[in-house]
Structure formats: C-alpha cells, structure tokens
C-alpha cells in the first residue's frame, strides 16, 4: 500500500513514441513507487525496451512527460540512484581487460565525481555489493572467464555498488542457465524485500515470477497494468498479448 503524498520514483504521463510513422508506444501512463517489485512482459517489438530506454533518458519520447523522483527527466542529475542492467549484460567481450572487481567499481564512478579517488566508503560499497551477489571470491577473476550466471551477478553488483533506489533490468536472463535463473529471481526478491530496492524488469518468464512480483506491466504499444499478477496470468488474454491482435486488457489505476 502506497501513501498518497509519497513522490513516485517514476511518474510517466501520456508517453508516445513514434518512429517513421510507426507507433511504438501509445499513451503510456504509470507511476512507480519506492519498494515496488514490477515485471514487464510483452511481445517482441511491443515497446518494452523502448520504454525502459526512455525512462533512462536514452531515447526521447515523441510526446508525454517523464518525471524521476519528482524532477523532469531533463533536470534530473542523480542518475546513480538508478541501477541499470542492460539486455546484453552477460554477453561481455571476452578480451576486455576487466576483473570482477574492476567492473563492480564502475558502479561508484558517477557517484564519487570526477576528481575524487576511491574512498574507504567506496571500497566498502564495492565489497558489500560483491558480498550481496555472492561473487567476492571471484573478485580477481577476469569477467570474460565467468559463466553466464556469474556475469549476471557481476552486472547486478555493479548496479548495486552505487546504492540505487531502483534497479532496472532488461531481460537479464539472456544466456543464463536455468539454475542460475532461479537463483537470480531469489536474489531479486531478496533485494526488494530486505534492502527495499525497487525492482523493474523485463522478462519472458511470466510463470516463474508470479509469486514474487507486486505488479505486472504488459506492454504492446499500450500499457496494461495489473495489480494482481496471479489473477492476470490465469487469463487467456495474456497469451493473446503475445499474438498479433493484442489489445489493452484492463487498466487498473494504481491507487495510492
């Protein structure tokens, strides 16, 4: 239950994105509050990744407004509050000269500023992130030598090192085996419940996540927001969403 006066992390209003006459996103509106655990599903090409890229300022919407922590996206400066793990995170360049620790340290760079060296606090945050992701024993290993699941945890540790308020993950299970995927979902749920980190992630594993998530966004040009994912997953319309003739199912206005 969210409080009415609380400033949402993301406040998205009437977002439209049109490329060369093709509608990618149409009138998408939603709010995301601190502590939420949200999954995004939808067919390929439905606009999931585009939506996330717009939330991160990587794409400009054709129209509409995005506010982050109450500020317009163009005025928002505290990007370290947002941890991002992209889709290709586990597909690392095997020749890149980076140990696990080198990568996790990247999470502190934007936070500490240009002329500052790594402080004791920075080092502790890096270590803490590696402990949380259970990769401390791998810290001197080259990232290119790790398995898909290990790489995935390294990338999340990097995002966690900046002590973010929200973690945004775009299909993070690409190239990850089933055991690691299960471990990954357990980790996400733990981060959400114990660390109160808001989670927003794109996935195709709609069956696996149903037990943990608080809300489910289905994106296929339009956004359909469901406050009871278990109920929604039992609906035939979810399978329709992955089909050609997908429409918005129902839009629960989020009450807070």
């Amino acid at each position: 239950m969210q409080l009415k006066f609380k400033v949402p992390i993301f406040d998205v209003k009437d977002l439209n994105f049109i490329v060369r006459g093709q509608i990618i996103l149409s009138n998408v509106s939603f709010e995301i509050f601190e502590g939420e655990y949200i999954a995004i599903i939808g067919p390929n090409g439905g606009g999931k990744t585009t939506l996330i890229r717009m939330l991160l300022g990587l794409e400009k919407p054709t129209s509409g407004e995005i506010k982050i922590f109450g500020k317009k996206l163009s005025e928002f400066k505290e990007w370290y509050k947002i941890g991002y793990v992209p889709q290709r995170a586990t597909l690392v360049d095997e020749n890149f000269p980076a140990t696990v620790e080198d990568i996790v340290k990247m999470g502190r760079i934007a936070r500490r500023g240009i002329f500052a060296w790594m402080s004791v606090e920075d080092k502790e945050m890096v270590k803490d992130a590696m402990v949380k992701m259970d990769i401390l024993d791998l810290k001197d290993k080259m990232v290119g030598t790790l398995s898909g699941g290990q790489r995935q945890r390294v990338m999340i540790a990097r995002a966690l090192a900046s002590a973010p308020k929200i973690l945004i993950l775009d299909e993070p299970n690409t190239g990850v085996d089933m055991v690691s995927q299960q471990r990954f979902y357990t980790l996400l749920a733990k981060l959400n419940k114990k660390e109160n980190i808001t989670i927003l992630f794109i996935t195709h594993d709609i069956g696996v996540i149903a037990d943990d998530i608080g809300r489910l966004f289905t994106i296929n040009q339009k956004a359909t927001i469901c406050d009871n994912p278990k109920k929604m997953l039992s609906c035939e319309e979810v399978s329709d969403l992955y089909g050609i003739d997908a429409h918005a199912l129902h839009h629960h206005k989020h009450e807070h």
Partner: protein
C-alpha cells in the same frame, strides 16, 4: 652502446621518444578498447596536412599538425554522433582525403623532399629543442587529462550506454579523448612518423591484452612494451641509419608476436 648519448640529437630524440612511448601506450589503451584503432591512423594522416602547411608556409609543422589533427578529430566525432554514417567509412574518407590534401599542398609548394619523408616515417635527427619542449608540455597536459578521467573513460569503453545512464558525461569525454589522442599523434610524428604512429598507439595494448589481466596491469604492460620498443628501435635506428619510426614499429610487432605465441590458448 651509451656513446650514442654523446650526441645532443640522440639525447633529444630519446627524451621525446620516451615521452611519446608513455603517451601513445596510455592513450592507446582507451583507443583500442573504444574500437578507435583506425582513428589513430586517420588522425595521423590529418596531422600530415598540418605538416604540409607548415613546411610550405614556413611555420613549425608540429604546431599546425596539432591544430589540424584536433580539428579533424572533432569533425569525425561530430559526423559520427550527428549523422547515421558508418564510423569506419567516415574514417576511411578522412584518412584518404587528408593524404590527398597533404600531397597536393607539398607538391604545389615544392616541398616534396627529405623533410616530408622524415615526417612520414620519423627521424631521430629532426627532433629539435623546441620539439622536446612542445612534446613535454603538451604531452604532460594530455597525460594528466587521461589519468584524471581514466576511470570514466574505462567505464565508457566497457559499456557506453550504461556509463551514460550512470550520469557520466559520455559525449564530453568522447570529445576529450579524441582531442587528447589527436594532440598525442601530432606530437609523435617527428619521432615515429605519421604513417607509423598508429601502430605505436595500438600494438602495445593489443600485445598486453594477450596476457588477460585487469585494466591497470594491461596498461602497465603496454607501457613497458612501448618504452622497450622505443629504446630498442631508436638504438637500431642510430646504429644502422634506419628511419626511427620503422625500427620502433618493427620492435613492437616482434613483442606482439611473442605475446601472441606465449599466451596461445
């Protein structure tokens, strides 16, 4: 062996050469990891336009080479970020275009002589006191910038998009990197030559990458390789009267082949 240092020109060449080894290898790490290897070749050819103007107009070619190389670097970065053009195609166009302009300028000015040859392939005899001062001052400033922003540049090299979403000023740092690289290249052409400086920038890093160690160690190994190849190459150049750029580059290629063999999977 040390008798070569009895000559002032060798002392100057070694001071300039060691500076260039440090600059080329440190910047080369970012150049290679950013997939900018061809850019170093392109900027070296652009610098040649500055050399040609300097030779014909009677100004110090080094200064004009710096200006032209920086201008060219900005043009490349602007074209790449503004138009949907293939990066390597932009580099190929500017590389060949620069060479064509340089050749025409020197031909019209009647300066197609040994002087230009020394800028193409490097010459330890041509390093003046003014060059040493210019290389030391501008080289130190460039190195300072690279070291100050090394963590950010490393992050951008690893994942530009994630670096951007972390709040790092990616566009500004990209321009800064190409500017510094352009300056280093222009400064280096006296000793290594415009046709060969790209190799000194790229090969030490590629050789160091074969050892599969972290970024800091990769940078240190590439620095050692560059310093060794400059000292060894310039010594060969002195004793056998060979162009210094060619001997330096052949030395680093031998190191690269060695690294490749000993680190074969």
């Amino acid at each position: 062996m040390l008798e070569m240092f009895d000559y002032d020109f060798m002392q100057r060449a070694f001071i300039a050469g060691l500076f260039i080894a440090v600059l080329a290898s440190v910047s080369g790490n970012f150049v290679v990891l950013r997939r900018y290897s061809l850019m170093s070749e392109t900027l070296a050819h652009s610098a040649l336009v500055g050399v040609a103007v300097g030779l014909v107009a009677g100004y110090n070619p080094l200064w004009i080479a710096v200006l032209v190389a920086v201008g060219s670097a900005w043009l490349i970065e602007y074209l790449r970020s503004t138009f949907s053009l293939y990066s390597d195609a932009i580099l190929a166009i500017i590389l060949s275009g620069s060479l064509a302009v340089a050749v025409i300028i020197v031909s019209l000015g009647g300066a197609f002589n040994n002087s230009l040859f020394s800028y193409l392939f490097g010459s330890i005899l041509s390093v003046t006191n003014e060059d040493v001062v210019t290389i030391s001052v501008f080289g130190s400033i460039s190195l300072l910038f690279l070291l100050l922003f090394s963590k950010e540049l490393y992050f951008i090299a690893y994942d530009e998009e994630v670096a951007k979403t972390s709040g790092i000023k990616v566009k500004f740092l990209n321009f800064l990197l190409v500017t510094v690289v352009a300056i280093i290249i222009a400064l280096s052409i006296r000793v290594v030559g415009s046709l060969l400086i790209g190799a000194l920038m790229v090969i030490p890093t590629v050789a160091a990458l074969q050892y599969r160690v972290g970024f800091r160690n990769t940078m240190l190994i590439s620095l050692f390789f560059a310093l060794f190849s400059v000292v060894f190459g310039m010594s060969l150049s002195y004793y056998y009267s060979l162009p210094s750029g060619a001997t330096i580059v052949l030395s680093i290629i031998v190191i690269f082949i060695f690294s490749l063999i000993v680190n074969k999977k």
